[in-house]
Symmetry: none
Subunit: 429 residues, 2 copies
């Protein structure tokens, strides 16, 4: 049976490797230091390809077999003493357009460092162990978060996933970009064709709870429910100078009112509501727009409370349209994504707890619900899953200044490796 | 003294001529009928030259002297019993790239029809009377609206006006195009060198007020004051799922609140407030934006009321920033354009009122403030001016489907001719 801290990761190597590979996609410099930039490593870009190539080469050199599925998800599998589905440590190498060096990237590097540590120690796992790089977790370039892992989990068809188009250029599909960079693999992308025995993931918290409680490890027991909407508001374009206020059908004003209403709904229920993308047509300084398209992201740890938020926002939209009915505006809320709250597996949560208490002590760790979606939320539908969180400065993420201390990164990497090896050594089949 | 309706225009000839000459620049067909197209008669194009040639030939045949100034503005002057500056009826023959058959074109055709009616009746005006075609009112090809009339009024130098380049090809200047089509005249373009005694203009309303009130003639008493702003709102981009509502600096929420506030300010003061262009950065569905840029167009018939609107909006912005101070958002309002209100001349307004009441009755006419800019706003700085508005369907303009009924066009042409002849007959010098 594996004992926590039986193997010890090399924290210097972990951080050196992470920062070295962040040259691919480095952007948004905020200070003079060599690592004081954020990242813009959009999925399936040339920079993403370079990071993928590095990951594959590095894992091959450690005796792993590299498998790439039809979504470009990469599985670097190191054999164990027995055959069977691997115990995986995974995350993603893609970032937001104004992202940082830790969200996703740290999790893959923790897997790489675990594999290096296992390889150089000569430790024999009971079953295979894998490092996984999931495609387009962010959903920033192709607008579907957990893009690769949700095809693997069966929540999204590979045909639809390939057909998604670049938010900046609708002539470019995800499928074409997978082919262009050479990562449209032949392995079927599914939990059935390519099962995992478990999935562990190290991630920055992306929120303020650990930092506020001066704790270093979050034992993640599940994820928030969230829903994404495309909101479309139709009005009538007319001249800004000749159309009196009471004879307008101004879809932007209606959109502004609905955003203010959604904000109030989120506060009332203790959830979140966010708009991050918006476009106006026709787009002239002295013309009232005729069409507004914007996104709405709502979240809550509880499924029922999130459903109540959706209902309240739909009611607010209906009330606004009714109130302004003489203007003939319409509002459509098209739900493009609906993700139930995730409950992680007690065996994995237990392994993370044992590993965390061995490395930081019980007082420095706490159970926590993830505020963000993660590939682990997809894997948990098909295999035991848990995550390890570490604090990030001011809870900031999806921002070039996103930061976690090297000490916390090392603690997290040790805990996630220990949890995976504990799980592996406890497996009965 | 001229009596309204002493002369009566030929409404069939008016519309036949208008549609016949719209062959030059017809575009954007929207129905099977011979006149069911819009127009793309960009200023100083070959089509504009054909329309200009026709206008000059037609006016010459009616005994007019054709004068062309250095901006290509065309003045067709018919002698009166006495010499002096002419009383003018004018508008413009150029259109938007996706324009219609009425904006500007109708006004010049009303002047042509008035001249034909006067000519065939043998009526003798007291002073000269002129039909005027102003160059590039639209500012669509060369980006300066009221291009010709604002040089005439002294608001823009002829050198700057000639140097303006085509928005589609910066190698082409307005001056070169005036020469190419043979319309760079030798007459100095100024109100001093080429004065007018008065300026009358028939135009479609481009708004819904007449249609909404089931009235047919607008007696235009001036033009609105307006100001344009670039509004910039800074916040902090962070993750939509993990950043609690009370720890956000969301510039889009602040922008939405300020738009709602600006709308309330416009309604309170009886003015208009419009946002037509908006952009968000970085633009990701699950990232709170960090930067919003949007335009704000505010208008009011009264300069002091518009200044009060600006002050109220600035105060609302300051209050919103203060209220949300813990979020560290900022709002900047950069004023990029400031145009004072235009007051038309009581003698001209009175002439239009007398003419309108004679043709449609007092109940079918109303005083109205122009929401849009017109060549008459430039002429009013140097000579008594007023305009005649007729309804256009659904207030639509700058659109191929722009439409006014033949009946309303004829009423408007009668009123603008009667107003000009009344003004002429009342002149003391």
């Amino acid at each position: 049976m594996y004992r926590p801290r039986q193997l010890v990761i090399n924290s210097t190597r972990l951080m050196d490797t992470l920062h070295k590979t962040c040259v691919w996609g480095a952007a948004h410099r905020y200070g003079p230091g060599p690592t004081q930039t954020g990242m813009a490593r959009l999925t399936l870009s040339d920079d993403d390809k370079k990071a993928r190539d590095w990951f594959g080469d590095e894992m091959s050199s450690l005796g792993c077999d590299i498998k790439v599925d039809t979504m470009g998800n990469m599985f670097a599998v190191r054999p164990g003493e027995k055959t069977g589905a691997p115990t995986a440590i995974g995350s993603h190498l893609d970032t937001q357009p104004t992202g940082g060096r830790y969200d996703g990237i740290l999790g893959v590097h923790a897997a790489v460092e675990a594999m290096r540590t296992i390889h150089e120690s000569g430790y024999k796992t009971q079953y295979p162990i894998a490092a996984v790089n999931w495609t387009n977790e962010e959903g920033a370039r192709f607008p579907k978060s957990l893009h690769g892992s949700s095809v693997w989990s069966g929540d999204f068809t590979v045909e639809n996933a390939h057909a998604l188009t670049d938010v900046a250029d609708s002539s470019i599909t995800a499928g074409a970009e997978l082919e262009r960079i050479g990562y449209k693999g032949t392995l079927e992308c599914s939990a059935k064709a390519n099962p995992l025995a478990a999935h562990f993931e190290l991630h920055i918290e992306q929120g303020p709870i650990l930092e506020n409680n001066k704790q270093t490890i979050g034992i993640v027991n599940g994820g928030q429910a969230y829903k994404w909407f495309n909101v479309r508001v139709h009005g009538r374009d007319s001249h800004a100078g000749t159309t009196p206020m009471n004879l307008r059908a101004d879809p932007l004003l209606l959109s502004a009112r609905l955003m203010v209403a959604a904000n109030a709904v989120a506060i009332k229920h203790g959830g979140c509501a966010t708009t991050g993308i918006m476009s106006l047509k026709p787009g002239s300084i002295n013309t009232i727009p005729n069409l507004i398209d914007y996104t709405l992201d709502i979240r809550h740890p509880d499924d029922a409370a999130l459903a109540a938020m959706e209902a309240d926002i739909r009611a607010a939209a209906a009330a606004l349209v009714a109130e302004e009915s003489r203007y003939k505006c319409t509002i459509e809320l098209d739900k493009i994504f609906d993700y139930a709250a995730t409950k992680f597996h007690p065996d994995c949560i237990g392994a993370v707890r044992t590993a965390a208490e061995a490395t930081v002590g019980a007082d420095m760790a706490r159970e926590i619900v993830s505020g963000a979606g993660h590939d682990s939320c997809a894997t948990s539908k098909h295999c035991p899953t848990s995550m390890v969180f570490i604090p990030c400065e001011e809870g900031l993420s999806h921002n070039p200044r996103e930061y976690a201390t090297p000490e916390d990164c090392a603690l997290g990497a040790q805990v996630v490796m220990d949890a995976a090896l504990l799980f592996d050594s406890r497996r009965q089949k």
